[in-house]
Symmetry: D3
Subunit: 136 residues, 6 copies
């Protein structure tokens, strides 16, 4: 078994807010991230798939196919968008780095032909990232 990882980038706006909380509670929990005008990031996404290397092609996964899936399922939907306002899964879920990693997993799981989704890593900034490897 071998792991193959491909990166992609997207730029998006977001803010952190729990509607059931008061403004004060939101600021206490989320600091400057609670600003409802939003701020933004250059996110970096790392998608890792696991599988056997095809003895003929030498590929664990067709790289062009993987790139297209990542673009179609995630990048085209998140890039240059306001995550809270325009991406369905963040209408009622706070778009933290952790939740974005889980959401990307759900968008990609079962869609990579011939390989198993192994890990989704999301960098919000170069010094902060979340890893999700599936539930259970």
């Amino acid at each position: 078994m071998i792991l193959l990882t491909r990166k992609a980038d997207f730029s998006a706006a977001h803010f952190y807010r729990v509607d059931a909380w008061s403004d004060e509670e939101n600021v206490r929990a989320f600091g400057r991230c609670a600003n409802r005008n939003g701020h933004g990031h250059n996110y970096t996404l790392e998608v890792t798939v696991a599988g056997e290397v095809d003895p003929v092609s030498g590929f664990v996964v067709d790289l062009k196919a993987l790139k297209e899936i990542m673009n179609r399922e995630v990048v085209s939907i998140y890039d240059h968008r306001h995550l809270n306002l325009e991406v369905p899964e963040f209408k009622s879920t706070v778009p933290t780095t952790e939740n974005i990693a889980i959401a990307v997993w759900k968008r990609l799981e079962g869609k990579v032909p011939g390989a198993k989704l192994h890990r989704v890593r999301v960098y919000e900034m170069p010094d902060l990232f979340a890893d999700y490897m599936g539930g259970a």
Copy 2:
């Protein structure tokens, strides 16, 4: 003469829109950046000052002072903000990388004690940046 450069980061949301233009014209000129919900970036700011090295301290500029000025004049105002909605100079000016570099220059010029502002570089993403060295 020597140049000293210090970097800082800020995360902000923005969009590109000229109010005098129709929606179609804005999309034609700005593509996905015209989305009025905004998107965002991790900006990197490089501030370069020029001066003589103090023969005793070995400094061209007090590093702590430079950092404080950059924080007070720029980072604390831009970071975790929506540039179009919350930063005065971008209420009527499109917050392109070029215009952000010029705005940072105006905010810093004349405020660095003992050294001359030489260049402001703003990275919107790792593969796109603008340099401004002051007017004629």
Copy 3:
């Protein structure tokens, strides 16, 4: 379960020396690192915690709290210090990258509220790093 990783930097001096060995033996084992005047590095620390995502806040760990713990327990003690001369755990232990990772683990273990310390990674240079995930 999800992993969240936060980075921090510190700059420190160190040297490698085993007092029970002769100068020749130290140089043979440690090369230029045996120089007792010391040399130094910009270390990068990556702290990974594991836990469940809070369904309301979307956090596995309070980011501000994690940053404060890393600063209080490690960065404020190691940064701008000579590890051999000023940090207790390296008075009698060689401050190799491996031993620094273990020492950081011991300093942080049990101190991150609501999440489990999962891994400590220490980069001595961009091309050399150690990972410690706790004892057996």
Copy 4:
């Protein structure tokens, strides 16, 4: 147990071609990589070893020895070479990132004194890498 990782770089040319396939099939599978004149990359190799920290030296592995092994077994053979034409294992195997990671593993396994080879990571480009942790 602790993990220690050391990086190295090599620059090489390669192309992707399965001799049993027609030109059209090769282009369909490999796109621009099928160009038999070759293209090239700055590869980055990360070799991770696992072991116990020596209580005296503080090392899991002698760093100079590890560097020499990586140079002798891999870098001196791959660097500034055309992988398909000059490296034996790629005469009949497509030099994909996956296959390079496996080949590096085979070249290094059992040769690091006092530590166990844990993982080989090969970056073909900053946004594409493969990890191999051994068979079975």
Copy 5:
């Protein structure tokens, strides 16, 4: 006046050889780069243009147009190619980093609408790059 810089990447093979020299002379001058099977690199190209900021759009240059010109004139011709064998200007000129920078300049000069080509920087590796700012 302001400068705007955009980066792009291409992967290519090359070798260094002066046909008028003997094999020994080529090896003496170029070392491992003289290997005629070729080796390769991930090149990074930085194109800097200079101009006035348009007071309405905030752009010194249309970013989409600049990207298309860089792709059409350089990246589509150099990427996944063997520079010596497939790119006309390197049939009789050694594709050193210096000569690649000059060749990119010639390919781009006069083609960026509304702005002046200011500098071409080519990285052969992260630790080696050439800058060309035009002749005379």
Copy 6:
């Protein structure tokens, strides 16, 4: 004319202290850098030379020669050393980033055959660097 830049790294310890000042004055000016036990950094050095491209070799400077000069004149003397205690020019001059850049210039000036030293850049950390382009 073209510019060619080559990078090199060295790891060193240093502290900031003016002997004519009291301890309080040193701490006020230099903060944590005044700690006389020293701390350290991974410095990155960028040496830029200017010249004409040789029409036959395609080189502005012999790369192997440039690397050897940088190693012999700077890296071998600064690397794994305590700058204040072991490098002559910093016995009486504070080893700030500015002063290191000037010292490297003096060590290299006139020693690069066939090209002119154009700029020395020294990074103390990724977010702080000094540029020196010679006196007068």
